[in-house]
Point group: C2
Chain length 694, copies 2
């Protein structure tokens, strides 16, 4: 694990992706756009030139998991490969008291046995269209930040809806280079996705939290789905399988969807992340981890219900701990500071850029505003004070009723016609909702809310209806009827009248908090994000004027191409090898007396003798990846699968802020390990054959 963008609702992606284009890349740096690939870099360093056909084939064979990961088509019959931890959300939702697919794994021996996912959406990038001019034309120079935000949202909503209506494709306008460019990304959407194979979590996530983000590793973090349309597997572009797999010093590529980087944040913005943003987020992650760990300890069934969320909390905590350590490294900060000072000095010397000079101060001022909004925004608009699936449903229903009456251009982004299919997929999911688990999460978050909103006791009292958090959570969860999908559909269709008349306590609560939540969202959008967007656009302009525009933009959870070399690194004076072998797995288990989380799954003990223990298991490369890249294929120059990205090492956790390649590495499952395990551990010969057939 876990380069997984977990549970980031659309509204959040828009919040977090405000950062700016990077300077010209060195070494193997870069998360490159498919319409602006790193031709020069590849040519100079590797003598490799990607042809248009090569690029198109890679793009069409790459898959975005809309719940926060990446994947790839790996057979002519619509087979998709990703990580176990990307599939985990689907595995979790299949389970019940007698089936723990996430823990125990799954294999459909025949197509008929494949299990249809409840609410999984896959996207394949179909085309990219530059819409910068149209977006910019909607903005007038004398607009206030409030007006500019509304005008930009309006034109983007329109572009997306027009495109969706015309092509039927999912249509997202992506802000690149911090507003230096707006591109319309059109995706083919797949929603009939069926589970084919997952190993036991203990094989996928061997070594658990202690080994997470570590290397050397021994994880079979893989999962296979099959995509259907009209009841039949799709026949689309796909990657071929490399027999040899990744080899030392080989040039490899990673095609995936990195979620978010902040490489060119100003120093003020990084200071905000270091001193406020990260610590505040970490507090909640620690709290959630303890809550779920304790609850999971009470029974196997509790553990099963909380499993995906628990691992996700642990993973985020470790990732953020590492990111914060990077921000607290004075050498990183000094480097950022020097670069900023140099750029500012260059700006000062160029008369044409004088007007940009104010941008850095504007970003700094926006951080101060952000700090004042952070708590309220997190509690209300992110819904962290109401941590409950049912509350999320109630809020979507309440907002839907209000938004659907508005003209398309004025709607909240996630309620436009173009985005409605994804909203509905989630809202009408038959994902099981466990009342005890809901009560646990909601009681804890309401408890947390009371101290966060302590300056507003009257509002807290209304939220709690004069009860204790525990009592209130119990009542809300047990009296709400929103676990009934048909009821949700009915309320969604009826809209305003259904909401106005509803006595469902979750809906009543969502109505109570919505004005306050919308208010803080509006402030965040107009007084922080819009200010940042304009300021970063100026900074970006200054950068391009001074440094040229042959650069990649910060990550935006859209398809990017990274490249690098398969190679090890030195750590504490020791040479860490580029790959591990299956023998290493058994050694590691022995070192730890086979105790959790280093215990071997039963199957792996039984089948040890059958395995070729010299098979490469995991390997590392220098490609530039980040959260969201989980499940990305690693391919060679011939476009063949040589591995499967599933993690970065500890040293790579600073890649949020800067690319380094001394020790930072992407970690992947080797293609040979996948085949070896499928054939000899899982008796999944047909699946292995499907992957390797020509």
């Amino acid at each position: 694990m876990k380069l997984h963008l977990t549970r980031i609702p659309p509204v959040l992606l828009s919040v977090s992706l405000v950062s700016i284009a990077t300077v010209a890349a060195v070494a193997d740096e870069g998360m490159w756009l498919f319409n602006r690939p790193p031709r020069k870099e590849l040519q100079e360093k590797y003598g490799f030139e990607p042809t248009p056909e090569w690029l198109e084939h890679v793009r069409k064979s790459s898959v975005r998991f809309n719940n926060g990961g990446s994947g790839s088509f790996v057979s002519s019959d619509g087979l998709v490969m990703t990580n176990h931890h990307v599939g985990a959300d689907s595995l979790q939702k299949f389970g019940d008291a007698t089936h723990n697919y996430m823990r125990d794994g799954f294999y459909a021996k025949t197509r008929a046995d494949e299990k249809q996912c409840l609410d999984l959406e896959l996207n394949v990038l179909d085309s990219i269209e530059d819409v910068t001019q149209r977006v910019n034309a909607a903005l007038k120079p004398d607009m206030s930040s409030d007006q500019a935000f509304v005008a930009r949202r309006a034109v983007i909503n329109e572009i997306e809806s027009e495109s969706n209506k015309k092509t039927g494709l999912r249509s997202d306008v992506i802000t690149l280079y911090q507003g230096g460019e707006y591109d319309l990304y059109r995706y083919k959407r797949y929603t009939d996705v069926r589970l084919v194979f997952a190993p036991e979590q203990q094989a996928a996530f061997y070594g658990g939290d202690p080994d997470n983000f570590e290397y050397p590793r021994f994880d079979l973090d893989m999962c296979f789905f099959r995509v259907y349309e009209g009841g039949q597997p799709v026949h689309v572009d796909h990657f071929a399988w490399s027999k040899a797999g990744a080899d030392k010093d080989e040039l490899v590529f990673v095609s995936g969807n990195p979620g978010r980087t902040e490489r060119l944040d100003t120093v003020a913005a990084l200071n905000y992340s270091r001193d406020i943003g990260f610590p505040y987020l970490l507090q909640r992650l620690y709290r959630t981890e303890v809550l779920l760990n304790v609850w999971s300890g009470r029974s196997d069934e509790n553990a099963r219900r909380a499993r995906e969320l628990f691992f996700s909390a642990q993973n985020s905590r470790k990732a953020r701990d590492g990111g914060l350590a990077g921000l607290l490294d004075p050498s990183l900060m000094a480097q950022k500071k020097t670069a900023e000072e140099e750029l500012l000095a260059a700006v000062a010397k160029d008369p044409a850029l004088q007007s940009s000079a104010i941008a850095w101060k504007n970003v700094a001022d926006a951080q101060k505003v952000r700090a004042t909004l952070l708590h309220r925004y997190t509690i209300m608009e992110r819904g962290v004070g109401f941590n409950s699936t049912l509350f999320g449903i109630a809020r979507s229903l309440v907002r839907n009723a209000e938004e659907k009456g508005k003209p398309e251009r004025d709607r909240l982004r996630e309620f436009t016609t173009a985005r409605r299919p994804s909203l509905e997929l989630e809202l009408f999911s038959t994902e099981p909702i466990y009342k005890d688990f809901e009560t646990l999460k909601l009681a804890d978050s309401l408890t947390w809310l009371t101290s966060q909103l302590r300056s507003e006791p009257q509002f807290v009292k209304e939220i709690l209806a004069g009860k204790s958090p525990q009592e209130r959570a119990y009542e809300l969860v047990h009296e709400s009827k929103l676990d009934n999908v048909d009821l949700r559909k009915k309320i969604y269709e009826e809209g305003e009248s259904a909401i106005a008349g509803s006595q469902d306590p979750m809906i009543v609560l969502a109505k109570l908090v919505d004005p306050s939540s919308r208010a803080v969202r509006k402030l965040m959008e107009t007084k922080v994000e819009e200010v940042e967007r304009q300021a970063y656009a100026q900074i970006a302009k200054a950068k391009y004027t001074i440094g040229g525009k042959d650069v990649y933009p910060d990550a935006t959870f859209t398809l990017r191409l990274a490249f690098g070399t398969v190679k090890g690194y030195e750590e504490d004076g020791k040479q860490i090898p580029f790959e591990t072998t299956m023998a290493g797995l058994y050694e590691r288990s022995k070192e730890h007396h086979d105790k959790p989380p280093f215990d071997l799954p039963a199957r792996w003990v039984e089948r040890q003798d059958k395995l070729d223990l010299s098979t490469p298991f995991n390997f590392v490369c220098t490609a530039d990846i980040i959260g969201g890249n989980s499940g990305s294929p690693v391919i060679n120059k011939s476009g063949e699968i040589v591995g499967l990205i599933f993690d970065g090492n500890i040293q790579s956790l600073v890649l949020d802020f800067a690319y380094i390649d001394k020790q930072a590495r992407a970690v992947a499952v080797h293609s040979q390990a996948i085949i070896e395990a499928l054939r000899k551990v899982y008796d999944a010969e047909p699946l292995a054959d499907e992957l390797t057939r020509k």
Copy 2:
């Protein structure tokens, strides 16, 4: 577990024990003073009259564990009984890479095998003297709160040192009834304490965190020490052993040292605890729990090193979670509010009490000041920003150098002559200090500190010496020589010159932060605690004038007598029985497939057939107990041991703020279980014989 006052340094006890005397008790309420026992209550409800001899015998047979718990003498040869989790601190310090006494237990078959504890101090209450008049005489009515604090500290330091010089006994002036009374407690101090027996932690803490503060329970949470003087076991007063043990509906007594209650905090003070104090503390506990859990997961040896601290963090977290839930219960708050309004109304009607009316406002104002000091006080003076044993040592050495030059009356409380022996016991302990574990804790706490002190970047930079928290922690821990006890003694003796010349990085750091730390302590002492003390003294006076003085004061980690009835309770419509049996242990293990933390120790599996499974295991009673009561003997009217307190149930966690007896229960090990286990599981016949001989 865990009614254990964990790691509360003296300075904190003085902070936290500012609250006020309770009103006349009802039901089995009360933590009564031995010089003001609940004669009337016992007579009226139970027809029992404790004689002076009975009280003296109980007092002299009761033991305080100075590291935060209670115990009792249980044989004529100085045998002391307490909980495993009270002994845990000593067990932890004995361990090394090949001995894990805390996990595996210990039994000294002969006296020669008994293991001397490294820094354990036991206290037996010798006498109580009322010094109220002398303390009050030192204060003048027109003193500012700064002057009053200094004057009171001076007279208390003097009284303690005089008494200590005269009697050789440990002498502590205790503030009771919030300054309504000052009593001088003299203790016999024992420091040659040897470990005799401890079971495996898995037997003592069966069910782990999930079952902590729960009932029904099946825990053998016991530990035995022997007290020596002059190389020989002491022969002192002790409790006899009851053969039958606790029985249903029986009157029982608990003699122990409850640490801290806030029963008569004003509503403003409770609001502070609910909205600020508890949430802030819980944040740190969550963080610590995750840190230690993750580190422990990396190896067995890590787990051993972190064991005691980890369990202590878990225990505090659960206790505080429960306490906060109590504060968030509107019915509790409504009751407190009504009582306060009634008292205020009575005060308003009584001309003699008019001057007290301002006290409630003064308490409320003090909370506002406390809120502004909380973060800095916690980071600096509590040392939470420098979580390292070596830092604690460095600070004690730095402060000792400064304090020893001052007149006795002006010293910080913990550096007076009277308190010096306890200070030295801790400072010169040969407790093992693990550099990796120290680095872990210090790096984490320095990381935390950076965000807490974000408004003082220059100070943070000096603390970190321009390095990252990780790098700085490593350097501090590995370059400090303070793990050498002889060096500590040398610096302690030499004082100022040794400190001035020291290049030890921990000492240099302690010197850097000490002025700031002392400054915030002074503010907390004079602007918050002194204000509260004066205000609560007025409130107490009003209470006594109106309600009479036959009451018990809030808990102060001094010896108290509680009483109650052995009885079960109703929960969710089910009757919870007053006791469990050994059979229940095996059933619980089976229910959970013998998986941790419900797995049985190997010995208990092997010996199951030998045990009389109908033996009572744990039981509950209505006695009024709280943290610090861990290890208290439960005795019957004849002064015989019938049980051993080790926990309160979840419903008892609100006892910090109010006594209730509908469901709140004290949980104890049954005396029969102790003997049965010693004889049949642990082959400790001699120990069982010693306990039960007449």
